[in-house]
């Protein structure tokens, strides 16, 4: 079978063999599982840990696990984590330096062996988020070698969306519940009278080899049509949407908008939105020295543009007010990201909406900015 091979169908057993095969290959399999009242991403040793029969109920500032009537595993939208936790970890050693008594100094890159990840259940929005981080972190003049190593070895198994959450708006960011190229395998889950099964398409040679190793059958017309139908229906059932305007221009022209004061009154500047966002990549660095003082390490950890220190300069922070910091975040996501990296920084996964303790909803803020800009032009 090759990457252009026709779609296949696997059942629950096939899914079990898939996870077992990946584990047997020595891969670190990461996928969804229920923990602490949420569907989180964690290392899986078997398919039994998948969230069979669990769904979620989402809204701005709200997340609840709910029992489903079927045994669907991928019928839940984005949880609090994303794959960046593995590809671009929250803490990472960059290099270390050692000093001899004579004063010679050597620098050593921390090149830990990258685990061979297999990500199971990557949402189409998250697939796009990974592509965006790829470009940000390895597409420029100075590629991030640690990210590059982890990314090159990672196998991506997408799960197309058939049940978007109330906070989802990927379609209005130019994506969709169908998976764009970039996956090794794409699964579409179907639960109907004909049973619980997955349409599987290979997107790479490695994905095709993996599919070959699973008990599968060639996709029948009904299964294929039903999978396509469910994904198409999901497209029309997005919980939210961004206004259908050129967001880059809208945000770029809204730097003086009154709405920023309004959102700044509600924003706690906690930075949750940046931590859960699958594309946010900002980090800071710190130096850690041992007791001898002759060994020192440079670490990088996630940072947030909501942190007051983020823009620290001689006279103090450049962006001291919450207004300026929320504005920085939103305009970066939707506008200046285009200037810096030739794409939007938002894939519409809705995480920032669900996990904001103040329930601030990016789509609502953009709609308000759009309304305000309209008021101005009419004046």
């Amino acid at each position: 079978m090759t990457a252009t091979a026709p779609p296949a169908v696997i059942d629950e057993d096939g899914l079990g063999v898939l996870v077992a095969t990946l584990v047997a290959q020595g891969r670190t399999v990461v996928g969804p599982t229920v923990r602490d009242g949420a569907i989180v991403l964690a290392e899986l040793t078997s398919s039994a840990a998948l969230p069979y029969g669990w769904g979620v109920d989402l809204d701005a500032g709200r997340y609840r696990l709910v029992r489903r009537e079927d045994r669907a595993v991928f019928a839940h939208s984005a949880g609090p984590q994303s794959w960046k936790s593995w590809l671009h970890p929250a803490r990472e050693r960059l290099w270390s330096a050692d000093r001899t008594p004579e004063g010679d100094v050597t620098f050593t890159a921390a090149e830990p062996e990258a685990p061979a990840y297999a990500f199971l259940g990557v949402r189409p929005c998250d697939l796009r988020a990974i592509a965006i981080q790829d470009w940000v972190l390895t597409g420029g003049r100075h590629p991030d070698t640690g990210y590059g190593r982890r990314r090159r070895r990672a196998l991506l198994i997408a799960a197309e969306c058939t049940e978007p959450g109330a906070t989802c708006f990927c379609v209005s960011t130019g994506g969709g519940p169908a998976a764009d190229p970039g996956y090794d395998l794409a699964l579409t889950e179907i639960v109907d009278d004909d049973g619980h099964r997955f349409l599987v398409r290979a997107g790479s040679e490695e994905g095709a080899r993996l599919l070959d190793a699973l008990p599968h059958r060639r996709a029948d017309f009904v299964t294929e049509a039903s999978a396509r139908g469910a994904v198409d229906a999901a497209r029309d059932r997005m919980g939210r949407a961004l206004p259908p305007v050129d967001l880059r221009t809208l945000l770029g022209g809204s730097l003086a908008a009154d709405r920023w004061d309004d959102v700044a009154d509600r924003c706690l500047t906690c930075g949750n939105c940046t931590m859960v966002c699958p594309t946010c990549f900002c980090v800071t660095t710190e130096e850690v020295t041992d007791l001898t003082g002759d060994h020192t390490e440079r670490w990088q950890r996630w940072d947030s543009c909501f942190d007051l220190d983020f823009s620290h300069l001689h006279e103090g922070p450049v962006r001291a007010s919450p207004r300026a910091r929320y504005r920085q975040w939103l305009t970066h996501k939707l506008s200046t990201w285009h200037d810096q990296f030739d794409s939007s920084g938002c894939v519409g996964c809705g995480r920032c909406v669900a996990w904001c303790p103040a329930g601030i909803d990016l789509t609502e803020e953009v709609a308000a900015l759009h309304a305000e800009s309209g008021t101005e032009t009419r004046r």
Binding site: A97, R99, G103, D104, V105, F107, D303, C305, A324, D339
Partner: protein, 268 residues
Amino acid sequence: MSGLPVPHLVTDRRVETADTVTLRLEPVGAALAEFTPGQFAMVHSFGRGEIPLSVSSVQSTGGLAHTVRAVGAVSAGLCAARVGDVLGVHGPYGTGWELERARGRDVLVVAGGIGLAPLRPLVLEALADPGGYGRISVLVGARTPGDLIARDDLARWRTAYTAVTVDRPDAHWDGDVGVVTRLLDRAPFAPERTWAFVCGPEPMIRATARDLARLGVPPHRVRVSLERNMRCATGHCGHCQLGPLLICRDGPVVGWDRAEPLLSVREL
């Protein structure tokens, strides 16, 4: 991660002012790629961290000089480095002044405080090419006479015009007093055939660039060096953003045509 520091030996240390020194560095092993004036390096102080520093001298041998002012832990650590110490350096990063674009034109250099350091190699490059440029003027402002750096250079440079002004004179000062933009009136440059190179604190850059625009220097020919917090210099930490710009990548040197709309937005 990108940019593993390369060991450099401190071969000379020169005290410029009470809080500023110039360190001359030679690579211990293989040299970094050549820096051009206006670019910067990340310089590591053992156990403290690393900070962006512009090159204040570029050597074809691979040697570098940095003029550093102690304002915090890392810069103070670097200022305290002694001859024979080893520091880690990586780079070059960022855009340069691109003096060659000013060929045949008047060159106007305007510096505020330690902003003279990154402009120093540009002046040397221009002076090393007599006939390559029109008139070369250097205008320098400092808070007090004690804050002036590169005094010997200023005395030695045979530019068309060199002037220094201070905000607060002391008993011995008999030169100009006031902001650096006051010196623009006397400097011999023809605005329509001038390239200006400006570095200093942001309010000083803004005032200078606006006056130059008023005098008729086209905004893209006013080159300014911008500053933001920088943790990586490689476009990955996000700290140096100024609107659409990642200053470590798209700057620090940009034209005033790009900088002006950004620097006029409060808290951008």
